[in-house]
Every structure is written in C-alpha cells, then in structure tokens.
C-alpha cells in the first residue's frame, strides 16, 4: 500500500546536510535553516523550500543550526571552534562566540535572550545575548563530546546528549545534573517537544520516547535500519525517522506501526524535522540536499497541488465557473 509522494528537493548545498531546524510560525510564514559541512548554512522559506539567503562567515563545517521562534535570529555551531549569532532578516553576523573546540549544538531560549552551546570540549555553555562579552555560565559533567544541548521545561532545565552514551537533565541555576539516562550506544539525535514535554531520542535502529521532565520512558519503536534522526508530529499521531538506508519512514505513534517508507535521498538521512504546523517534514542528507515531504500526501499545500483525475474535466471546469461544488482546497 505504498503511496507515492513527490518531495520538494532543495539543492544548493555542496556537502552533506547535517542539521536542520524550523522556526515558529511568524506573520511571514515559517522558516527553515540547514547546517552543512560546506560551512554555509542557508535560510529557506519553510513551506516552499525557496532559498532566502546564506549565512556567510564560518570557516569550517557547520554542525548545528537553529532559529529563534520569530525567525529574527539564527545561531550556528561550527568546526571552526565558534558559534555565531546572525540577524536572520538581513543575514548579517551579529556575534561570534569563541570556543575551545568544535561546536556541535546551539539552542535559543523561548525569548531569545540566552544561547546554549555544546560541543567537543564536553562543556555546556549558556551565553546571555544581552551581555555577550560576559563569561558564559558553564556546565561540566559529560565525559565525551556533546552532540546536542536543548533548553527544556520552560528554559529552566537543559537536556544534553553526548558521545559518552548518556542523556543528562540539568538544572539551569544550580548547574547540577537532575537525572541521567545511560545507553549501550551513542545517541544519534534528540528532539524536545515542549507541548506535552516529550523527548525523542534515537540510537541504533531505535526511536525512543521519554517524558522530558522525569526522563521516564514512554515507548520505543524499532526501525528496519540504523536511524540518525526522528521527529514527532505536533499532534503526536505520527513520527518520522531517517537513517542509513536513505529512506524516510513514517510510523503511527499510537500503534507503533510502520505506515510508509519513502525513497528519494541518495545518501544517508542525517536529520528530519516536522514543520511547526505539521503539514510537512524536512530531511537533510549526506547527498547535500534537503527534501520536504507532505504529511498528508495529496493535499494542496505550499508548492504541492492536488489534481483530480481527468474524467469529463470540462464539466468540472464548467461547474466551478458557475459557482458549483468546490473540489478539495482549490481556490
């Protein structure tokens, strides 16, 4: 029962796409930023994939990228030992934060006042963007490179995943670890869903869902191949995952059943995220492209247009012109 779907392919990057993030929904739509090993993160319109601009300035592979909710600021983490903050409207570099090793992850608080960074020096840092020259607050504890650090619980706590095979929950004020999860292998990705406090973790072929406050496990689902990234739909009815076999998988969150799989990428899928309205999900791959996939295949949305089969289409045109029955979402 495989449904064919036509993804929108966004080209432009010349090396693997390793991270991507959506903004919130703004008066101008929503936006997507992609981190690429070519060192040139790009901003795109979220629902169409249209390129808006490229943030130029990093001198090494960009490993992490994020946008604030309003898509007015962007932050990137790179192999040139810096994290940078950008004006996402003009594309100008606003701040460069020097680190002592490769930076892998960046994350804004809800009000964009603080930036969280994490990387190969094993230290989580909190920068006050209103006082950027001040020394950042440091949180130590991880014994290996940090892959991802995210704000959670209304920006009062921090979740981090590192190559030491642990995921740790930290209190922002005390900088102490509150709870810790240990795994048999390195966690490949982590996604935090504030609405409902769900944490999505991937490792090996497993996609695991945890309560983000208690770190109690909700459920785990196994995929046919090694998974690099997964994302839960805002309505928590589906989740998507991608990894080593180049495919995108769509699962039912409730029943854990694999619903669909889509081929399209020419390389392993490194990152996948649902859009803030849940209408599409974006995947970034080793093949250097981003692809946008419809959640509900066949719906008119963005650049996808639902076309009904041609049986007496002249009649249909006639009916529509006479203000007759509308078909689908056609205007």
């Amino acid at each position: 029962m495989a449904m064919r779907q036509t993804p929108l392919t966004c080209s432009g990057h010349t090396r693997p796409v390793v991270d991507l993030a959506f903004s919130g929904i703004t008066p101008y739509g929503y936006f997507l930023i992609s981190a690429c090993k070519d060192g040139k993160p790009m901003l795109r319109q979220g629902d169409t994939g249209d390129w808006i601009g490229t943030f130029l300035g990093h001198k090494g592979a960009v490993w992490g990228a994020t946008l604030n909710n309003e898509a007015t600021k962007a932050a990137t983490a790179a192999a040139d030992f810096t994290a940078k903050v950008w004006d996402a409207v003009t594309g100008d570099e606003v701040l460069t934060l020097a680190h002592k090793h490769i930076v892998k992850s960046v994350n804004f608080t809800q009000d964009s006042s603080c930036l969280l960074t994490g990387g190969n020096d094993k230290i989580i840092r909190i920068y006050d963007l209103n006082k950027p020259e001040a020394e950042p607050q440091e949180i130590t504890g991880h014994t290996s490179a940090i892959k991802k650090a995210l704000w959670c619980n209304n920006d009062t706590q921090i979740l981090s995943a590192a190559d030491d095979k642990t995921v740790r929950l930290w209190d922002r004020n005390s900088t102490e670890v509150v709870k810790q999860l240990s795994f048999d292998m390195s966690v490949s990705s982590m996604e935090y869903i504030p609405d409902g406090e769900v944490l999505v973790i991937t490792y090996g072929k497993t996609i695991a869902f945890y309560n983000a406050l208690s770190l109690d496990m909700i459920k785990t689902v196994d995929a046919p191949a090694s998974i690099h990234s997964a994302s839960l739909h805002p309505d928590k009815d589906f989740f998507v995952a991608g990894g080593d076999d180049f495919k995108l998988y769509k699962f039912d969150y409730g029943t854990k059943e694999e619903l669909e799989s889509y081929k399209g990428h020419f390389g392993p899928v490194h990152c996948v995220r649902f859009s803030p309205d849940g209408e599409l999900y974006a995947s970034g791959s080793e093949d250097g492209t981003l692809r946008l996939w419809q959640t509900a295949v066949g719906k008119t949305y963005g650049l996808w247009k639902c076309v009904l089969p041609v049986i007496g289409s002249r009649e249909l045109e006639g009916k529509a012109a006479n203000g007759g029955v509308g078909f689908g979402d056609d205007q």
Partner: protein
C-alpha cells in the same frame, strides 16, 4: 478515486552571485526599515539620519572607487597569521568576500591565479 499531486514549481535555489536576504522582501522591509545605527537607538532627528546616510554613501563610493583604481596594480596584503603577500589585483566579488588576484607571491612560490578570502585580510595598500 485516487488523486495526483503535482508541483506548482520547484523550490527556488540560491543565487550564485550573492548571499540573498532580499532587502525588498516584505519581511525585510517590515522588520528592518533602516539599518542605520543612528536611528535604531531612538528615532532621533531625521536630519541626523540624513547626515549619517550621506556620510555612508560617500564612504561607500570612495571604497568602490579604490577597487577600480586598484585593478591590475600591485597590491600588498597584510593578513592574519603574520602573512604578507603581494599580488596583482584583478577584481572583487559583489559582497567583497573574495579578491581575485594574479601572480600572488607567497613564501612557497608564485601562484598564477588565486582568490584571497577578504575576512583574512587585515589591510592592503597600493600605489596610485
């Protein structure tokens, strides 16, 4: 009755000549009506803003004229990591990110054609 999905068009790709962030886009115009620092603090006297803009225009024009004057001349580049090189200047790209130069004299030999990354350049000088 199965439905087909067609694409209205493909997503627009990057512009090979620039870094984007179209200043004429609705979002840019709404959120950044002006990038002049004098006016971002408080909306002060429009005369001040006008003066600052005139000064900026004059400086910009002067800079662009130096690029023209530099064409095909020998230029000494003073760069980070105590790098001092000399080359014949060819052209700059539109965002002044790269300088195209010829006969770049480096400690390990002369490079016939090269691109210098502008962010690595501290200063450069040439004779008019």
């Amino acid at each position: 009755m199965s439905t087909l999905v067609t694409l209205l068009r493909l997503p627009r790709g990057p512009d090979p000549n620039g870094r984007g962030f179209d200043p004429n886009s609705t979002r840019f115009v709404a959120l950044c009506p002006t990038t002049i620092s004098a006016s971002t603090e408080t909306w002060t006297d429009s005369v001040e803003v006008g003066e600052e803009q005139r000064a900026r225009s004059a400086l910009r024009e002067s800079f662009l004229r130096t690029l023209i004057a530099m064409t095909n001349k020998q230029v000494q580049f003073h760069m980070y990591e105590r790098v001092e090189v000399e080359a014949r200047f060819g052209a700059s790209d539109i965002d002044v990110l790269n300088f195209q130069v010829s006969e770049l004299q480096t400690p390990i030999g002369v490079q016939k054609e090269a691109l210098l990354r502008c962010q690595d350049v501290i200063s450069y000088s040439f004779d008019l």
